[in-house]
């Protein structure tokens, strides 16, 4: 147990927070990148919002996109963060030390993901707070239901992040999984407009993304106070995503790791 706590301290505080705050400009830009889109969509919403969201029975467009923006970061930036972290370790020449330590690359990715998710939780909290300032009400929110959905979203994201990082081990640069999720989640997952506004074929793709279901459930939980029973369809679907993405992520990781060991390219970048 003390070993796990020590690793959490090492990855969250030393490798995560201490390094993050040491790049002050980057830190400020990170926070701005969380906040500014909220205002962008707020002003878009003043002219278009109501027409967009009445189709999904949410009267306030601001409430709609605030929840979307708050939680889409778990997918897009987490996946990029995990694979980028692996790439950074290749560049630093430190990846081999993870491979050689008992924690291994798998453990390194897991603990790195914890930092990524911590940062995204901070990101979500800031956006939800700014949303509250813009009039979004969370009174009556089902926090337990929301927490369950977030945890399930994090689990599925971790599986996808594992696949993404595993590909980076092989390709070094150029990561299709990271590209897809960082580029298309905002467009396809109902982050800033409902998926039923999309063409039918694109909508089918959006239903294959865990974030689409998680956001629908989170809006119900946070904005309408839906009970666990009412959220159960979303929880079930997220459970299916978790059951698929986590073993698949682990399998792709093992495949890629064995491949680079045979090729002798672990430390190449």
């Amino acid at each position: 147990m003390s070993g796990v706590l020590a690793k959490l301290y090492a990855f969250l505080y030393l490798r995560g927070f201490r390094v993050w705050v040491s790049y002050r400009t980057q830190m400020v830009l990170n926070v701005l990148s969380w906040v500014l889109p909220v205002f962008t969509y707020y002003f878009v919403g003043t002219s278009l919002g109501k027409r967009i969201t009445t189709s999904v029975h949410i009267m306030s467009y601001t409430s709609f996109f605030v929840v979307g923006l708050a939680f889409q970061g778990y997918v897009s930036s987490s996946i990029v963060t995990i694979s980028q972290r692996l790439r950074n370790e290749q560049l630093y020449g430190t990846l081999e030390y993870y491979v050689l330590s008992p924690v291994g690359v798998f453990g390194f990715l897991t603990y790195s993901a914890v930092w990524g998710f911590t940062l995204n939780t901070l990101n979500a909290a800031v956006i939800l707070a700014v949303g509250a300032g813009l009039g979004v009400s969370y009174s009556g929110a089902n926090m337990l239901g929301a927490a369950i959905l977030v945890l399930m979203l994090v689990a599925s994201t971790f599986g996808i992040g594992m696949m993404s990082a595993a590909l980076v081990m092989v390709t070094k640069q150029g990561n299709p999984i990271s590209f897809f999720f960082s580029t298309f989640t905002t467009l396809m997952s109902g982050t800033v407009f409902p998926v039923n506004a999309l063409p039918y074929v694109v909508r089918l793709v959006s239903y294959a993304l865990p974030l689409t279901w998680a956001l629908d459930g989170l809006r119900l939980a946070l904005l309408q106070g839906a009970t666990i029973i009412q959220l159960s369809p979303y929880i079930t679907i997220m459970g299916v995503f978790d059951l698929v993405t986590i073993p698949l992520g682990a399998a792709v990781y093992k495949l890629c790791f064995d491949y680079v060991r045979r090729k002798g390219t672990i430390s190449q970048y």
Binding site: S2, G3, L5, A6, K7, Y9, A10, L14, R15, R18, V19, S22, Y23, L91, Y92, G93, T94, E96, Y97, Y98, V99, L100, S101, P102, V103, G107, R261, R262, K263, G264, I266, S267
Partner: protein, 314 residues
């Protein structure tokens, strides 16, 4: 203890097909006798270190580290080794030396208190206690090498492998690193690679000379230097020097060149020699005689063949 039997490693290399990086490598490294792997760039030294540290899978053969198979028991091997690689970076520059070592210690399942204690101890061993709270971005290359040594012994491994531990560092830092490696090798199993014969002479109790993925000679430094027999230093007119002797040149001056060369092969040069004197043979003489200028030089001076590897001294 490190032992390999017939380790071979092939790499696929695009249009060149398959390249043999290691070919039938047999080495043995015992605790208390540091062993050096020397050879030109591309000889296979780093590949062998990577195979032994489980970073690369061998194509065939067996290798055991601390009694564990690098192929079948990689977890046990990893727990048994400390590795110093040759990379330029190696640390989180935004963290202090202490923070870096605590971070790496936690990877070995040490609790926070124990991690801090080990970090302090190892910083003291490598003489960096006074710099514990300095960010590693402010460290010199020599200090980073010593810090890399500290990291390698954080979990007190019985086997330490170092890839060119003195590469790119100044004279005094090199001395410090050599002293540290020698101390570590008094009780532990130490295998290191180097291009510097000074490192080998000061640290190693046994040497493998590797070229083109094959071991071309092995023995203690003393035995290897006896191998070349008498060595002479010759002064020859540069324009009369046959190309095949250029690898023996140590200085060029005013149209003359000075060569250090085994006496047994100087016959062709006798006619061109301006001056000749006997000198003590060194490991460098052995290296130049056996290896030549690079891995691509396929005509090394041959002493004799035999044994498991091509040549064994002593």
């Amino acid at each position: 203890m490190i032992e390999t039997r017939g380790i071979t490693k092939f790499f696929a290399n695009g249009k060149r097909g398959v390249v043999s990086a290691l070919c039938n490598i047999n080495i043995r490294v015992r605790p208390g006798t540091p062993v050096a792997l020397v050879g030109p760039n591309g000889a296979g030294k780093t590949t062998l270190i990577r195979v032994l540290s489980t970073l690369i899978l061998p194509s065939s053969g067996e290798a055991y580290v601390n009694g564990y198979s690098v192929v079948d028991q990689p977890k046990e091997v990893k727990r048994s080794i400390g590795l110093v690689t040759v990379s330029d970076r190696l640390f989180y520059y935004r963290l202090t030396a202490m923070e870096n070592l605590v971070f790496y210690a936690t990877l070995y399942n040490l609790g926070l208190g124990e991690a801090r204690k080990r970090a302090r101890e190892t910083l003291s061993i490598v003489g960096l206690s006074g710099w514990a709270d300095t960010k590693t971005m402010h460290y010199s290359t020599g200090m980073l090498r010593r810090l890399a040594l500290a990291r390698a012994i954080l979990h007190d491994p019985p086997v330490i492998m170092l890839d060119e531990p003195t590469l790119g560092i100044d004279v005094v830092s090199s001395r410090n690193v050599r002293r540290l490696v020698r101390q570590l090798g008094e009780e532990r199993t130490v295998l290191f690679t180097s291009h510097y014969m000074k490192d080998v002479e000061e640290i190693a109790g046994y040497v493998y000379i590797i070229k083109g993925g094959r071991i071309v000679a092995e023995g203690s430094p003393q035995d290897l230097t006896r191998l070349v027999g008498r060595v002479v230093e010759l002064e020859v007119y540069e324009d009369e020097l046959p190309d095949s002797y250029r690898r023996f040149v140590v200085t060029y001056r005013n149209g003359h060149v000075t060569l250090r060369i085994p006496e047994s092969i100087v016959d062709d040069l006798k006619a061109h020699t301006v001056e000749e004197r006997s000198v003590q043979p060194t490991l460098e003489d052995v290296y130049v005689s056996l290896v030549g200028e690079s891995s691509m030089d396929v005509r090394p001076y041959q002493f004799r063949r035999g044994g498991t590897n091509e040549w064994r001294a002593g």
